[in-house]
């Protein structure tokens, strides 16, 4: 088992209900395929640096989880079919720091 981070960029013109569905589906998908979600972060609407598929903004969701090859394959398969997601990035880590949040909203 190793630690991973997964970030998803969803389309900008989605309703709040649909965002919640996306967030829950990937949470269940990781948990069901021999993995364990440690933390979920929502970065909110952010401006993209350049146009991606004619979108200027994206909604970012960030997962920190523990898993093995099965979970990674499951995520890869799911994202490729999913039409609501523009980009995603999977990164492996030896140690996860769950304290620092770089995209925290200032109140």
């Amino acid at each position: 088992m190793a630690f991973y981070e997964n970030t998803i960029v969803a389309k900008q013109d989605l309703a709040e209900k649909e965002l919640k569905i996306i967030k829950d589906t990937y949470n269940e998908l990781i948990n069901s395929s021999s993995g364990k979600v440690l933390k979920i972060e929502e970065w909110g609407l952010l401006n993209l640096a350049n146009k991606i598929r004619n979108y200027r903004k994206g909604f970012y969701i960030h997962y920190k989880f523990e898993g093995d090859k099965k979970t990674l394959d499951a995520i890869d398969k799911k994202v490729k079919i999913d039409g609501k997601i523009i980009r995603y990035l999977l990164v492996k880590y030896k140690k996860l720091d769950t304290k620092n949040e770089y995209f925290k909203k200032e109140k």
């Binding site: 960029v9 640096a49 350049n50 991606i52 980009r87 990035l89 990164v91 770089y102």
Partner: protein, 90 residues
Amino acid sequence: MKRKNKKFQRKNTGSLNKLSLFQKSDSKFSKKCPLSIKNAPIIDYKNIGLLKKYVSDNGKIISSKITSVSYNKQRKLTREIKKAKILGLI
């Protein structure tokens, strides 16, 4: 007589007497790497504030000759900048 001539030439080629900007100056100045001090900031693709300092306006990575980042840290920087570019953060 020859020695005297050499000394005379050195005085003329001081750092102030450069012909152009691109000519190397005689006096060496070295700046320490800003990312390998104590309590240095973490190099990570989420830490955009740090990464933006090492990227030009056109999105190119600035060379370590200008920023004086050590060779080891420069390799880490490029890897993290490319990750951030995939997500469209930079």
